[in-house]
Amino acid sequence: MTDAALYQSILASLPEIVVVTGACILLILGQIVPKGPGHFLVWASAATVLVAALATLLLAGEVRPAHSGMFIVDRFAVFFKMVFYLSTILTFLLSRKYAEIEGIALSEYYVLLLFALSGMMIMASATDLLSVYVGLELMSLSTYVLTGFLRQQRRSNEASLKYVILGGVSTGIFLYGVSLVYGLTGTTQLDGMAAAVTGDPLDPGLLLAVVFIVAGLVFKVGAVPFHMWVPDVYEGAPTTITAFMSVAPKAAGFAVILRVFLNPLVAASDAWIIVAVIAVVTMALGSFVALVQDNFKRLLAYSSIAHAGFAMFGVVAGGADGIASVMLYLLIYTFMNLGIFGTVIMMRNGDFSGEVIEEYAGFAKSHPGLALLMLLYLFSLAGIPPTAGFFAKFYVLVALIERGFVILAVIAVLLSAVAAYFYIRIVMVIYMREPERAFEPALTPSVRATLALTAAGTIGIGLFPAWFLRLAQSSVFGG
């Protein structure tokens, strides 16, 4: 590698370097600085993310291939990185008080989040199956540990163990698929693979390889049939980590899926049938099983499965609009889902776990403002206008119908009508029951800021979607 190429590569991956370096420094500082002013870690971590975001924006002007074709900075990657930064910063803000209450305010907590962030960033920029793998592992390993961070609780340990084992198997399957691809085509580059996959007639070995790779990625977004870990892990993990996992790693998984499968060559094949089946089954399972959940976190876990299914419909649609619709969906989902998780996290105070839906009975009576926010997030998740959740779904449907998949669109809306039921059931509990207890939400300034930001996003994108739509459309690669 020449000096100029090396310089270009370092420049292109500067944001990742910033995050990893920052994480390492904080890891050391966390041990040196005496416990006590633990808050400085939050701000230092947030500052690291902001610097990385700044670097990303400065580099966003042009497409920069780097690291010998393993890595690329394009608008597509930048868009996803922005989603990651947003969700990470909001997670930091939500974590401050929560981590104190749960007694997990350790420096490792923030450092691991930063490592997970860097993994996701690599995934968004990866153009080679191996760099995908590096990012995937970096992200997964960090989240495994974070899931088990409530060391005193069996539930958390169990979730972590389940996640490690299932995650390990799925990564193994993914890696096996990669090795098959390399054996059959002699390359691990996405472009090379795409060219081989669409070669006619399709090599059965290659088909198997693709299925393995899909399986590994589908696991990360929590789609059927690799969704079994989601409810247990979401329920067991610290709620802040659940919030984080429900948006960021899912978006990262989708980033890779889009890159691999919406390569124009692959999109021309019949791969969409597989994805369509996955989308329908995922959404159906998430929507129907969520109907009977009593635990808020478990319900949101199934809801996130259902949303993954809906976003998957955008992948089915393909084309520029299909890709843009998935991206916009993930961005909007970040706002509304972190919003609703923010309210759940805020409720965790004293003895009150805030995890049982029935315990929210009559919340609107004592806290009308917060209840209104919950109503906003829940209706947005249900996809009712004028919230952003509606526009997200609307655009996916537009992309689907543009490609002639009207039947799929009908299935999607009918399933989202089912899903609407469990969201409005929570609204019912909040508004239409008499309170049985006094509520003391841990409403710190940072939680307030998170709620304000997510609410602004949820209602703002709903009312003025034009700018965000253009952003997503212009960030589609090759389109």
Partner: protein, 491 residues
């Protein structure tokens, strides 16, 4: 661009709702809500004063880009069909506030905010000239209405609220798919007027017709998707019932007028017999159900199904008398049934029972109340001299011209209407004064009178001199029929 009168009308209640959130005392909330709704009505009257009845063109139009990438614009405008309903919505708006003055005694602020939000969205539905904008208003109504029924309703409110929400949502989502299909078939635009000018193949029209039918039929509601209505009406607070009966039900019929007929003319003609039969079924079936009710609110609710049957019947006769009668009947039903729900609410506030069997001889205890009740009851059964007579007569004469059997069924329904309404009035107002002994009934007070009088005035005005109202409708109705037959009759 001219003065944005329609935007002002639509968003003033919304702005009022925002202001209410910062008020503390319940009385301030009530008076502010009343002030906003009255002001809105004044603007609507100003709008009608400047309304040109000689043209079918859209008036007071406003257009701004909203989401250019998808061809979505923020476009408002009204023609003769929507003008009447914008006015009706504003008319009922402040009456709803008055009807809730003492009936709503907890969470007054939240209630008024929901009420005003509801009004803004309903006005938006009637003014929207962009299909996406229309859909946003249409669907967003679910949120405040769900809350109004679910929080301030009766004992079975939660069930009723869920049923209302899910029925309407399922219907509207298929409508959404239809809208997007229409978007791609109609040249990637959501502009309602541009879509109206499209000539779609019959197969597409048929599919869209049924996609739209499901959404609109749920809202109207037409048999057999009417089952949410009795629950929602019975459980909703008085103001909620007035909104539901007065305005919400009109939206389904408005959808037929604004979308199904002009955009899908061939399909509308082709399926008109089906629609006429469904309407006749609703008229008779709703009437029969009303005949068997003991609950006052349920009776009025089922009578709504029957009366809305007349509306859809008139629309799908696809001749001028039927169509104008249908549109006028929409307005009439809003006034009359809104008033009847108001009356049920008034008496319920005093006695806390809605069972007809508990009443009797109310005339002695509350003479003014029963006198006005008689007026609205007679109006509901379409006695000559009242508003519904004009509407029903037009509808029936249109129906007989279109289909003899359906016309006959509709007459049967009108007879049923006389039977259950007179029966109800006899049991409640006349007979031995069983109630006087058990309840202390006070007659209507000044506040209630203010709410009742305008409605009574419209009953008589439309009944005795309907010309101004028909004039508003006329040009647009003629144009609509020309659209349907002009293209629909061709090969």
């Amino acid at each position: 661009m001219a003065f944005p009168l329609l935007s002002l009308i639509v968003f003033m209640p919304a702005a009022g709702a925002a202001v209410l959130m910062f008020l503390r005392s319940d009385d301030a909330v009530r008076w502010t809500a009343l002030g906003v709704t009255v002001l809105d009505l004044a603007l609507c009257i100003a709008m009608l004063a400047g309304f040109d009845t000689t043209t079918h063109e859209m008036q007071f139009t406003e257009t701004r880009p909203w989401v250019p990438a998808l061809g979505i614009t923020y476009a408002l405008g009204i023609d003769g069909i929507s003008a009447l309903f914008v006015f009706l919505t504003a008319l009922l708006g402040w009456i709803c506030v008055l009807a809730s003055w003492v009936a709503i005694d907890r969470k007054v602020k939240e209630f008024m905010v929901s009420l005003l939000a509801m009004q803004a969205l309903m006005l938006g539905v009637f003014c929207a000239l962009d299909l996406f904008l229309f859909y946003v208003f249409w669907e967003a109504m679910l949120i405040p209405m769900y809350v109004i029924i679910g929080v301030w309703g009766g004992d079975g409110r939660v069930y009723a609220a869920f049923k209302f929400f899910l029925y309407t949502l399922a219907g509207s989502l298929l409508f959404l798919i239809g809208v997007i299909v229409l978007y791609f078939h109609g040249g990637e635009t959501f502009d309602i007027l541009a879509l109206t000018a499209q000539d779609l193949p019959f197969r597409v029209q048929s599919w869209l017709f049924f996609a739209f039918l499901i959404a609109f039929a749920v809202k109207v509601p037409m048999v057999p998707v009417h089952t949410w209505l009795p629950d929602a009406h019975v459980q909703a607070p008085t103001a909620g019932s007035i909104i539901l009966a007065g305005v919400l039900l009109k939206m389904g019929a408005y959808g037929f007028l604004r979308f199904s007929l002009p955009m899908l003319p061939e399909a509308s003609l082709y399926y008109s017999t089906l629609m006429l039969s469904l309407s006749a079924l609703a008229i008779v079936y709703g009437g029969l159900l009303a005949l068997g009710q003991d609950d006052l609110k349920k009776l009025v609710a089922y009578s709504s199904i029957s009366h809305m049957g007349f509306v859809t019947l008139g629309i799908f006769t696809l001749n001028l008398r039927g169509l104008e009668g249908g549109i006028l009947q929409m307005f009439n039903h809003g006034v009359t049934t809104g008033a009847l729900f108001l009356f049920v609410g008034l008496i319920y506030e005093r006695t806390h029972t809605r069972s007809i069997a508990d009443y009797g001889g109310l005339m002695k205890a509350a003479p003014v109340y029963t006198a006005f009740l008689a007026l609205f009851t007679l109006s509901s059964m379409a006695l000559p001299g009242t508003n519904s007579f004009v509407g029903e007569l037009l509808v029936l004469s249109g129906a007989f011209a279109a289909n003899l059997a359906v016309g006959a069924a509709a007459v049967l329904g009108a007879l049923l209407g006389a039977a259950y309404l007179l029966g109800m009035y006899r049991k409640v107002a006349l007979g031995p004064a069983s109630v006087g002994a058990r309840f202390k009934i006070r007659d209507v007070n000044a506040r209630e009178m203010v709410a009742i009088l305008p409605l009574a005035a419209f009953v008589l005005w439309v009944g005795l001199y309907p010309k101004p109202f028909l004039d508003i409708i006329d040009a647009s109705a003629k144009h609509l029929l020309a659209q349907v037959h002009g293209r629909g009759d061709g090969p």
